[in-house]
Each structure stands twice: as C-alpha cells, then as structure tokens.
C-alpha cells in the first residue's frame, strides 16, 4: 500500500479550496439533497454528512473539481441512506426476538397463573379432570381414552371441549377473584366459552351480558377467543401430515380472497406445503400463520414457526439438493424461488421461523 507516499502531497497550504470553498457549496448540496429527500430533518442530516465528507476530502480534490465532487458525494450519501433503509426493512424481522423479554413481575404473574389454573382444576369433576389431564398433560390420544372410558373417540373429544370451556370459565372466575353474582352467570359464561350458539340462545346470553356487569367483563376474553381467526389472519397448528394440507388450503383460501391470480395461488400453496412439511419432519409441532398484507401493497405473508431443533447451517439448507431426510432437498430453496421475499431465522435448540411474502401482481 502506497500510504507513505500519500503523506507528502497533502501539504499544499495556503490554497483556499478548504473551508471557505466548501461553504460556497452549501446551497448546491442543499438543493440536490432536498430534491431527493422530502423530510427536511433527514435532508439536513444528509447535507451535513455530505459537507463533512467534502471537507475531509477537500485537500485531496483538485482545485475546481470540488463542486462536481460535492454533487457526486451528495448523491452517494442519499443513495446509501436509501440502501440502508431498504436493508433495515428487509432485516427487520431478524431483530424481533421470538421470545418476549422477561418482565420483572413475570415470575409472580406466572405463579399466580399457576395457582389460578390449579384452583380452577379443582372445581372440575374428578372424571373431567382426569380425562383432561390424561389428554393435555400426558398426551394420551382420544382413541385410547375412549377405550378406557367405554366410549367413542368423538364423544371423548366433545367431552374434552366441554371440559376446556368449563376450565376457561373457572380460571377466569378464580383469577379475577369473583363469585358469579347470579344463578344464571355460570351457564351463560359456559355457553359463551364453548362457543355453542344454540346454548347461548337457550340461556339468553346476550341479554344477560347487558344486565350483569361481572359477566360483561369476564366474557370479553371468552368472546375474543376465535374472533381473531376469522379476520384476515389464519392460524393453523401443525403436527401431522394432514396439517400440511390444512395449512396450504388456508393459504389458498386467503390468497383467493385477496384476488391473487390462480397461478400465484398455486405457487403460494406449494411454498406453504414445503415449509410446513419441514415443521412436521423436523420439529414435531409448530404453527403456520397466513396473513393479508396491505402495506406497501396487497400481499400475503406466511410465517411458519416451530420450536424444534433449529437448522444448524441455514446457508446450506437454502442450497439446492441439501437434504437431511430422504427428500429432494428442494424444500427451502424451492419455496424461496416461489415467493417474492423469503427469510429463515433459526437458532439451534430454539426453533426455526420461516417468513415469506408474495405480493399481488397488479393486473
């Protein structure tokens, strides 16, 4: 590096291409930047940045060339700001920590929560509690439960649903530390919790909510359940092969609603199929969230999330033909080709999140 040689020609003092010359350039630079950046505060920053760079280089630039140098520098500064903004936008999702930060009161809240759940559990009947715990905690499936109880899998599942609905109600009552003020409260809350429309009509739930303040307050979280799913966001829990089909059908449904072209819909469904299969293959369980995007234009976003082992080498997993099971190794790279934006965040031992976006081609 000829750094030593560069030291010498610096010494050309007395020439006024220094600070004064630079000051004359301010209006020019201001004009160039303002034409490209509408926000005055940002524009001001960029003008300063440009002048600082020009000033630093003033001694190296030939006399008379300072003006063109300033023009190019101003353009470069603006362009690199845009690039930076774009990069930030693209990488924004990486900054998001998948785990919410641990608040100082989290332990206390968690303990209270546990106590409330435990209390609520004691309010269930023995049989309800045992069945629920066998299914949810021990992971016993409905079929074998049905065999033990001398019932059918469907009946056990329905029973479990009713138990869960009751548990939600009891949990709310415990955690809010209220006793239902009237005889009718509990049946109404139960009907709301189970989402059983017919039962809600029978107990005249809507009227009771108007009359009873306690129930009106308690019912908010119960009613909130499932409402989100109806909106422009579909959430598909993923465990088995069949969920791959469910996930891609959810994506297809939403993409159809967003008026994607049939070809794009199939591309999206195929990509969803690939990333969802990865969850089933590698992580046992996870979820796929399909959401509509309005900004900056109409599109669909798919987030496939799992808490599995993670991908040790994401770069390699994104290469064609890299496969750790008997596949074609087309899963991730293939899905990337099908979508407009594609990002994988993975941490060994903590899980993988694949985020993909497809924008609607404006026809």
């Amino acid at each position: 590096m000829p750094r030593v040689a560069a030291v010498e020609p610096v010494g050309t003092p007395g020439e006024e291409s220094g600070p004064a010359g630079v000051a004359d350039l301010i209006p020019l630079v201001r004009r160039i930047v303002a034409a490209r950046v509408p926000d005055p505060a940002t524009a001001d920053d960029l003008v300063q940045e440009t002048l600082a760079r020009v000033l630093a280089a003033a001694e190296r630039v030939e006399p008379g060339m300072l003006e063109p140098y300033a023009i190019v520098t101003a353009r470069n500064v603006v362009a690199s700001m845009w690039r930076e903004q774009d990069r930030q936008r693209r990488h924004q999702h990486r900054v998001v920590d998948l785990r919410p930060p641990e608040a100082p009161d989290e332990d206390v809240l968690a303990a209270e929560d546990r106590a409330a759940v435990a209390e609520a559990l004691t309010r269930l009947s023995d049989r309800e509690r045992e069945t629920l715990l066998a299914h949810e905690v021990s992971g016993q499936d409905t079929r074998s439960l049905a065999a033990e109880l001398g019932s059918t899998a469907g009946a056990v599942a329905a029973q479990l649903n009713r138990t869960r609905a009751r548990l939600r109600v009891e949990y709310l009552l415990v955690s809010e530390r209220v006793e239902p003020p009237t005889e009718r409260c509990r049946p109404v809350l139960l009907a709301l919790s189970s989402g059983d429309r017919r039962r809600q009509r029978e107990v005249d739930a809507a009227r009771h909510l108007l009359e009873c303040d306690v129930c009106a307050r308690l019912s908010a979280p119960l009613l909130g359940r499932g409402r989100r799913a109806r909106d422009d966001e579909l959430r598909v829990p993923v465990r088995t092969d069949a969920d791959i089909v469910a996930a891609r059908q959810a994506a297809r449904e939403l993409a159809t609603k967003l008026r994607f072209s049939p070809t794009d819909i199939t591309l999206i469904a195929t990509a969803v199929s690939e990333v969802t299969r990865n969850i089933v293959r590698f992580a046992d369980s996870g979820e796929v969230v399909v959401a509509a995007l309005e900004e900056p234009r109409c599109g669909i976003s798919i987030v496939a999330r799992d808490a599995g082992p993670g991908i040790p080498d994401v770069e390699r997993a994104l290469q064609d033909g890299y496969s750790t099971y008997q596949g074609l190794g087309l899963g991730l790279p293939g899905a990337r080709r099908l979508m407009d934006e594609f990002a994988v965040v993975s941490e060994t031992g903590r899980g993988t999140t694949v985020t993909m976006t497809k924008w609607r081609g404006d026809a």
């Binding site: 088995t240 092969d241 049939p262 819909i265 087309l330 099908l338």
Partner: protein, 129 residues
C-alpha cells in the same frame, strides 16, 4: 379400515390400470396410494398405468418425488406409467420449484394417456444388443 370416503381409486381397464386421485392427498395418503398401486400392478398383471392427478391442487417436492418413484417402481415391475391431468398452474409451480421430472411420461388427459400407453406397450423401447 374405517368408512372414510375413498381418496383415490385404482380401476382395471384391459391390460392397464387407471389410478385417479380424487382429492388433495397428504403425505401419508400419498405413500399409501403408492403402495396400493405398486401392489395392484402385480396383482392385476398390468402392463401400463395411467395416474390421473387432475384433482391435486399442489404437486410439491414430496408429491412429485412420490409420483416419480411410483413410475420407477412400476417400471421395475414391468409396467409403463403415464401421468395425466397436471393442471397448468401446478405445472408452473413445479417448474418454479425446480422439480426434475424429465424421466416421467406425461399426457394431457386420460384419453391421451391411454393412447400413449398403447404406443409404449406395443413398441417397447429398443434395447441395444
């Protein structure tokens, strides 16, 4: 077997089998389809197979690979396989995905598929001697 509606059917038509997929299959159903079909090729002494996939909404890497494997297994069992009914959008997605399906015979629809089978079975590829 429980009384679930059939997700695919395998019918005999002369020396050929016509396998139709009726709905979107998940992976394990696809594998069962593969096994049933390979078994039936032996049981029915079929010389050719037409697989109609018009009802598949998506042929992703697993689906494509399974079909390719079926064709290869069928070939090893002495039958020619023709895939028919790949939807235009599905074809588009397969190419974008980067599937290599060049070795599999295809035809536009069932009728074309049977014609193709007739041609292949009547004049088997010349083996260099």
């Amino acid at each position: 077997m429980t009384a679930v509606p059939r997700l695919f059917s395998i019918l005999r038509q002369g020396p050929y089998l016509i396998a139709s997929v009726h709905t979107a299959l998940d992976d394990s159903q696809l594998v069962r389809f593969q096994e049933d079909l390979v078994h039936r090729i032996g049981a029915d002494r079929a010389r050719g197979v037409v697989i109609d996939v018009a009802a598949l909404d998506v042929l992703d890497s697993f689906g494509s690979r399974t079909l390719r494997d079926v064709a290869e297994m069928a070939r090893l069992r002495g039958a020619v396989t023709v895939i028919v009914g790949i939807q235009p959008d599905v074809a588009f997605a397969m190419v974008e995905l980067g599937m290599d399906t060049g070795s599999v015979l295809t035809a536009l629809d069932l009728e074309e598929g049977l014609v193709e089978l007739d041609r292949c079975v009547a004049a088997p590829p010349v083996v260099p001697t």
